[in-house]
Symmetry: C2
Subunit: 504 residues, 2 copies
């Protein structure tokens, strides 16, 4: 049995190593690669990903899993070996359901679709992407059909990034959330708009960089096992347990874009750095879902990084770095500015409150497309109507409307957006549990101390990697299934106080 | 026939892509990787290299080469397809002669050997590496024995980096060179030593960086298809025709180390950037030998970069960058300082003239080891005796003696050093031909213009990649086999004038 487990782990490590190699090539492509390298690099990454996929779906893996099933069944559910076999089986069955030819077709379409979008967006040309989206929708439906027995056609797509999540769970959750958010946004909109003009003064990039790095170092992001580099669209990437990197971008005329991007990606990275070392290069050695990942990035970015105690400690330090720009700005004014709530057109620039409405709009439109209730040709109008309904605004053109996000233009429709809002909901649930377990966390934060919070998250969430699903983690940590209550309480508490609408 | 050639190229491209991926991982490992990434990275690189080797030695490649042999024979020698088939056959036969088990044993020993050396050198502990070297010597002999019929046991090892070169050619060439160099070094040693103390003043790193980058950009190194980064031991690396990078290092207290390292690596990189684009990802798509590569790195570093016309243009510019440090130093004094000839212990720090004696010492010692005429235990003493004989100096200990270079401690003895001096000899031959074809080159250099020289080298050397061997290139370019005469003439001319010993 032991020999077979060793062989399985060795095969899984090999597949993981080829995936990691592809990741290094991608990281280089988006940080340092000179323009001339693009053509060969695309081919090299594709070759490595195909190889990793071939190795992971090798029938020998299936045979080893079969042979090891009695061993798995002899172990407790939460045993590491049992968990490895369970999660590997889930991945293997999922990936072997998709024929290699279909995977190839998806990969090709994904590249073609992205290439079309990258030109169509600046040209405001929805007509150019419409036929591509038709094909994307068809592929997405075919994708789902490789997993017969689903409750909703989007479920197999959602399951890819948020295993176990279904439309049956998400729809009522998001509906309830929306019902709470819209009046909250309206109540805030009725209040005076705080001044945030000083955010857009001139801030030297290196000083922004140093300030952000200092914070995430204090958070507990380990630079001996990571680093930060600049890129166009920030992301976190894992090459191994000992090498989990973040990327960021800065603007001289925006103090907070780069800073909160650093905090956000560091949240993702601390999750990955916290996964038990011994899971590295196995299917257990990653964060468990898109939702749980976002719960951590958004917890460190927003719940901690945009909190009053946090800035009571850091604002004098920020002022010391930028005396000319912030000398005339009080801590309270700064705190209000970085938490300004205002309906806006662009999801990635949205505040904590309205952000979820952007996500829910996309989620509902995806479902309508997949259900056949909405035609691609009607998507731009449906987009505008949804924004009008939820946020009371409309984009002047499709550039900042239906063309704004890369997700649908990357080759699949469905499953890409729910994680963001799930992350907010889960993050608040985890946060509540963390506060219950460590009542001093807020005081710590006001001292620039994060060790207790980080340690608790590591011990209760991070270290498990993919051993437990998101649902299982929520149950273990909070003792109950996921609800929006902690998140609504958090938003009402924070923004009620900020905008003086506590009674709303 | 066409289908088979297409299939062959596709298989070769795949093997090349996996090698390139390994190279990207290596580049990252030596430039940006955080310490925590080391363990997984070593494993990932090894997996990719093994995979590339497996793909290249796949029997299907052998069958395609056999099937394509009639096609190859129907074409002229210098046809691209014929050359691809010829060079691929040569590589394939070479690599398939080595059993996979032996390649694995070498790879493991190489890592173990390097690990031993990296600790033994600072500890001045030759006894620690001696048993490792015994094994290295045994492996090197076994390596050679997989290529029966060689003239000298070192020939198969030399053939690895300098295809076609043999001890029968190199020994008399190096002997003749040594006979010319020793009296030249003696004659120079009898002259007053120029002052070079100003080289070691305090020079801000970023200004050093910018000055070097400006020069290599003017040389013709294309930053759209390359970039420079910092590392401990500078090198050039190719990922594709469109991505050929250099690395360098700087010292605040040494103005020239970083600068000439940049020029040297840019020489290598311009060679790789100049290889015909259509050879990319095939066995033709690289420089043809270690010797020809060094001929270009050393040509751009020394023959151009340490020449009087070059500094007549660049020295005023360097003074403008560093007025406090160089304001009191004349162009002549600077030129003498960067061409100071002085017997020294460390090969990589040696000047243009004595450098070759360092190489010839190592070459002769390798041959003696492989021939069984020198025992590993006697190597340190033999090293000291050789330095005494050739350079008149001895290292105080083995650290700066037999332990100084990584080469023998990387898993093979033989074939690693000859390329450096071959490069000097070939470089002078190519340089003579370039001057004959472009009599205005020296005047160009004095104007900071390098396009004619670069263009001539690209058209006559670089673009051929591995299509022609070093011997073939020399014959094509100079019309005769390689001799040391142009190199001796170059050294006598330059250093005779510098040291006022023209009659020597």
């Amino acid at each position: 049995m032991n020999d077979k487990l060793t062989e399985l782990k060795s095969r899984l490590r090999e597949a993981s190593d080829f995936n990691s190699a592809a990741s290094v090539l991608y990281w280089d492509q988006t940080t340092y690669m000179p323009p001339g390298g693009a053509e060969a690099r695309g081919r090299q990454i594709a070759a490595l990903q195909k190889l990793a996929q071939e190795r992971f779906t090798d029938p020998a893996i299936g045979r080893l899993l079969d042979d090891l099933q009695p061993y798995q069944e002899s172990l407790p559910y939460d045993d590491d070996d049992a968990s490895l076999l369970r999660v590997t089986r889930r991945d293997y069955e999922r990936q072997t359901r998709l024929p290699a030819q279909f995977v190839g077709e998806m990969a090709e379409h994904s590249i073609a679709s992205y290439q079309t979008w990258i030109k169509a967006r600046p040209a405001n040309d929805f007509a150019a992407v419409a036929p591509v989206l038709e094909k994307t929708l068809e592929l997405s439906r075919r994708y789902a059909d490789y997993f017969p027995g689903y409750g909703h056609i989007a479920d197999p797509l959602i399951d890819e990034s948020d295993p176990g999540m279904t439309v049956a769970v998400l729809r009522p959750l998001f509906k309830a959330l929306r019902e709470q958010l819209v009046p909250l946004v309206d109540a805030i909109a009725a209040q005076p708009v705080p001044d945030d003009s000083f955010i857009y003064r001139d801030y030297v990039e290196q000083q922004q960089w140093d300030f952000g790095v200092d914070i995430v170092r204090h958070y507990g992001y380990d630079f001996e096992r990571g680093r930060q580099d600049k890129t166009h669209h920030p992301y976190m990437i894992r090459f191994s347990a000992g090498d989990v990197r973040i990327t960021t971008r800065f603007s001289r005329n925006n103090l907070v874009d780069g800073l909160f991007s650093t905090l956000h990606e560091a949240g993702h990275a601390m999750y990955e750095q916290g996964v038990a070392q011994e899971y590295d290069a196995t299917p257990l050695g990653h964060g468990t879902s898109s939702g749980v990942h976002e719960s951590q990035s958004r917890l460190w970015e927003n719940v901690v990084g945009r909190s009053q105690p946090f800035w009571s400690y850091y604002y004098p330090r920020l002022q010391a770095v930028f005396p000319a720009q912030l000398g005339d700005v009080s801590e309270g004014a700064f705190y209000r500015a970085i938490n300004l709530v205002r309906p806006s057109l662009i999801r990635v620039d949205a505040d904590e409150v309205t952000y979820n409405l952007h996500v829910i709009i996309r989620f509902e439109l995806e479902l309508a497309l997949l259900e056949g209730k909405l035609a691609i040709g009607d998507l731009p109008d449906a987009w505008q109507a949804s924004y009008q309904e939820s946020l009371g605004i409309q984009a002047p053109d499709n550039r900042d409307g239906v063309l704004q996000d890369v997700h649908w233009y990357s080759g699949l429709i469905g499953g890409a957006f729910q994680g963001y809002t799930l992350g907010n909901i889960m993050g608040a649930a985890f946060w509540q549990a963390a506060l219950r377990a460590n009542p001093g966390v807020m005081d710590d934060i006001a001292q620039g101390e994060f060790a207790a919070l980080h340690g608790w998250l590591r011990d209760n969430l991070y270290r498990y990697g993919r051993k437990f699903t998101a649902d299982e983690l929520i149950e273990r940590v909070t003792g109950a299934p996921l609800t929006i209550d902690p998140y609504i309480a958090y938003l009402r508490g924070k923004f009620g106080e900020l905008y003086g609408i506590n009674g709303s």
